[in-house]
């Protein structure tokens, strides 16, 4: 049940922030283009997209906070350890989150109040901060694949520069960004499928999907070399190696959703838009499943490859980095009931909010 809650809130967070990163990069350029060309249709698309983002970014944030607090409640010692050693990467992300929220506020509420150039600059700040938020977080994810940059002297800490050279991070970060844009363009192609610009969005969506797929293959290769436990759990069954925790079925489902997007986008380019709602859903599902695959392929380990940590330290941390050993007073059925009693109506209300925003 714990893992279900973590998967739910983390998955929702990731899907929404992926869309947020893409929209932060797309809207300022669309609006600028519309202003330069005097194109009302592009302006309409930009404004509607930004309105959606301005009204829902906080939902993405709240699910991220929920994930952190759930982790803190279920795995407090792991969070304590992370807090003690990971100052710089987390601090970078947090500073960018605050800057992003501020620039987003300025961009949306200043839509008709700034002149075009100034507004575009605010949009660029919004975009750049959106790109930098995942930099720190993905550095931590890379560290959780293989703890490159873990220094033991003078005290245990992460050397950020070394952590940024982690081969799994070097592929995971750009893959995350291209996946954000792939998702965003597929969603834009779906939402504005009747617009004359739907084909442009479809082409961009296809380009980013191809790029993400290439980076996905590269990421799998780095996992094979640096976090083989994880790689085997995803791909082991395909080449006859028995995984400890087989999650290959998640990968297969993800590939099906990916294929649907390709087919639907190709159809849209030929003038058929019937499959686009399914493509939009598939895009969201692909991002969700990709994140689940990355997180749960290393279950029950918070750090997939501990072979680079000295044995005595790895032994001392064995319980702390073990997802199968949660906080005993947070694993009560009554707590699960409370969680469901709140989450179900709140997620339903969030859907109503999104419906009210996209309705007009």
């Amino acid at each position: 049940m714990i893992l279900t809650f973590l998967a739910l809130v983390f998955g929702l967070h990731i899907v929404m922030v992926n869309l947020g990163i893409g929209l932060s990069g797309t809207v300022p350029f669309l609006k600028r283009k519309a202003e330069i060309e005097g194109n009302e249709e592009i302006m309409r698309i930009a404004r509607k997209s930004m309105k959606f983002y301005a009204a829902t970014y906080a939902l993405a944030g709240v699910f991220g906070t929920a994930f952190t607090v759930f982790l803190l409640s279920f795995y407090p010692s792991f969070i304590g350890l992370a807090g003690n050693i990971a100052l710089v990467p987390f601090a970078l992300s947090v500073c960018m989150i605050v800057l992003h929220f501020l620039s987003l506020t300025l961009y949306w509420y200043g839509w008709d109040k700034f002149n075009s150039e100034r507004h575009f600059i605010v949009g660029l700040v919004m975009f750049i901060s959106a790109l930098l938020i995942p930099l720190g977080f993905r550095a931590i994810f890379g560290f959780l694949n293989v703890p490159i940059g873990l220094e033991l002297t003078p005290k245990v800490h992460i050397d950020t520069l070394k952590a940024l050279t982690n081969p799994t991070f070097l592929v995971l970060y750009p893959k995350s960004i291209t996946a954000s844009f792939a998702l965003t363009f597929v969603i834009l192609a779906t939402a504005f499928r009747k617009s004359e610009y739907s084909k442009s969005f479809a082409k961009l969506g296809l380009a980013f999907l191809i790029l993400t797929s290439i980076l996905g293959i590269a990421y799998a290769e780095t996992l094979e070399s640096y976090a083989n436990y994880k790689f085997t759990n995803v791909f082991g069954v395909f080449y006859g190696v028995k995984p400890e925790n087989d999650v290959s079925y998640v990968f297969i489902i993800k590939m099906v959703f990916l294929a649907i997007q390709f087919i639907a986008l190709m159809a849209l380019l030929r003038g058929k838009d019937k499959l686009m709602p399914l493509a939009g859903f598939s895009a969201l599902a692909t991002v969700y499943l990709g994140e689940m695959l990355n997180a749960f392929s290393q279950y029950p380990l918070f750090i997939a490859n501990t072979s680079v940590i000295p044995k005595e330290i790895a032994n001392a941390l064995a319980d702390v980095i073990n997802m199968a050993k949660p906080n005993p007073i947070a694993t009560m059925e009554s707590l699960y009931a409370v969680t469901l009693a709140f989450l179900i109506p709140l997620i339903a209300s969030a859907c109503v909010l999104i419906y009210l925003i996209v309705r007009d």
Binding site: I79, V94, V98, T105, K155
Partner: protein, 499 residues
């Protein structure tokens, strides 16, 4: 004691700035929805469009600031994790529930605050009003959860105050029978431990906080029992068997057992200062919001005469007057009584050096008796002394709050009795003073808790990260947040007050 002399000075300042910016903003999320919902209810009753306009403007106000407030909330959360990871760990381990429940409150806030703003005229009026009430409920629910954790940090459930020479303050703990059987009871009793009784969960004891603090410090420095203070209070037979057991695992077993005994879901709400704290905190948000709205409508009328501004000004003025009276005479009083009872060192430090008449007045308010025998600053053992600066901060806070109340009274007289309201750009000083008062209240509360991070349990040094940022880096972070706050204030002025 000098406030700077306690450990981790620069990180305490950084935390103070980060959390204060978060608090400065979120007070509007506590107060403005209340004002907006009441304004909308009046509109539904009277159908006077001016009330709808007021409600909409207030809603726009809290939606604009909410983004950065939420961002700063995330920053505060990560700030706690990164600067005070051991505090965060014990919060997650032992008193996680209010933090967990706060997530649902935060979701409620996010969903209904935005729905209140974006669903105007898209859903029926009464449904919209209910959405507003849910937004307000989310905000207050959220504040209640967070303040409960903070209350636990001020006076944890099971804390006992008393004579310092008898080992007080002490903390009630329920020691599992298995652990109790390994302890040398007479050694512990000679160190000040009292046995309060037994229960099905274990032996109920009152352990001096000096010992609790030492055990917690040993646990978080990774010690095993043979290197810890615990070793000295074990039975001879247990010493060899438990020598290499980690202190943290023993601490976990005792505290988990205690929390289960007290109530996993209710432990923080049973803090003796919780009720007063939550009322005082929420009312602070209402006071700040009311004075801010008062100033903005005063300024608005001064710039551009309008009927709506007149009505908004009168509405905010009544709100401000009621709020500051309640804050001063009800919630503030209750808070003072709770501090005098449960945070005696803080109360003694506030009184230290005060003129005699003021001391007698404070003692009368706190205990109902000006001649009561109270703890004096000189009576406090050195290791428990809070910083003296809170004396000055407290009286500055009270003085400014009284001034604010008098100004509200004078403006009410001018507006409703003499019928000559004052619309002036100088009204902008009111929210600034209200914010300063609110900040000083938290400063006295938080700085006055030193040398503790969690009173009686964890000191500042133990809570602190093993890898702190350099003072220069901490200063840079602080500057960054202050600059962003300045931009937000300008944005609110530009998008709301000038429009």
């Amino acid at each position: 004691m000098d406030w700077a002399s306690y450990p981790a000075f620069s990180d305490r300042v950084l935390s103070m700035i980060g959390i204060e910016i978060h608090w400065l903003i979120l007070q509007y999320v506590l107060g403005l929805p209340l004002m907006a919902v009441i304004a909308e209810a009046i509109y539904l009753k009277t159908k006077d469009e001016r009330w709808k306009k007021i409600a909409k403007t207030l809603a726009k106000g809290f939606v604009i600031v909410f983004a950065v407030g939420a961002g700063m909330g995330t920053a505060s959360e990560f700030g706690l994790i990164l600067l005070w990871p051991n505090l965060t760990e014990i919060a997650g381990k032992y008193i996680y529930f209010p933090l967990y429940a706060e997530i649902f409150a935060f979701m409620m806030e996010v969903i209904f605050v935005y729905m209140f703003y974006y669903a105007w005229d898209k859903i029926p009026d009464k449904a919209h009003l209910i959405v507003g009430i849910l937004a307000l409920t989310g905000a207050w629910f959220s504040a209640t959860m967070i303040v409960s954790v903070n209350s636990y940090m001020q006076a944890p459930t099971g804390i006992m105050v008393g004579d310092y020479s008898m080992g007080y303050p002490k903390l009630m703990l329920v020691v599992p029978y298995k652990i109790a059987s390994a302890l040398n009871v007479s050694a512990l009793q000679s160190a000040g431990m009292d046995i309060l009784g037994t229960s099905k969960d274990g032996v109920v004891v009152a352990l001096p906080c000096s010992i609790v603090k030492a055990i917690v410090a040993d646990a978080f420095s990774g010690k095993v029992i043979k290197d810890s203070v615990l070793y000295g209070v074990l039975n001879e037979s247990a010493k060899s068997a438990l020598a290499n057991v980690s202190v943290k695992s023993v601490l976990d077993a005792i505290v988990w057992n205690t929390v289960k005994h007290v109530g996993v879901y209710t432990v923080t709400f049973q803090s003796p200062v919780f009720g007063a704290s939550v009322m005082h905190a929420i009312m602070a948000g209402v006071v700040v919001s009311a004075f801010t709205v008062l100033a903005s409508y005063g300024l608005s009328y001064w710039r551009r005469k309008s009927d709506t501004a007149v009505l908004g000004y009168r509405y905010a003025l009544i709100f401000a007057l009621i709020a500051i009276v309640l804050q001063g005479f009800v919630t503030g009083h209750e808070m003072g009584v709770a501090v005098a009872e449960w945070n005696r060192e803080k109360f003694a430090t506030i009184l230290h050096g005060s003129p005699e008449f003021l001391k007698k007045m404070e003692l009368t308010l706190a205990y109902g008796n000006p001649n009561v025998d109270y703890v004096r600053y000189e009576d406090i053992p050195n290791w428990l002394k809070p910083p003296l600066i809170i004396h000055d901060l407290y009286y500055l806070k009270v003085g400014l709050a009284i001034l604010l109340g008098l100004v509200a009274l004078a403006l009410t007289y001018q507006t409703f009795v003499r019928k000559r309201p004052i619309y002036s750009p100088y009204l902008i000083a009111l929210p600034v003073v209200a914010q300063i008062v609110s900040f000083l209240g938290w400063a006295v509360r938080e700085m006055g808790r030193k040398p503790w991070t969690v009173y009686g349990i964890m000191d500042v040094k133990t809570a602190h990260t093993m890898n702190p940022p350099s003072p220069a880096l901490a200063g840079l972070f602080a500057l960054y947040f202050v600059v962003l706050l300045s931009v937000l204030i300008y944005a609110v002025y530009r998008f709301l007050w000038r429009c």
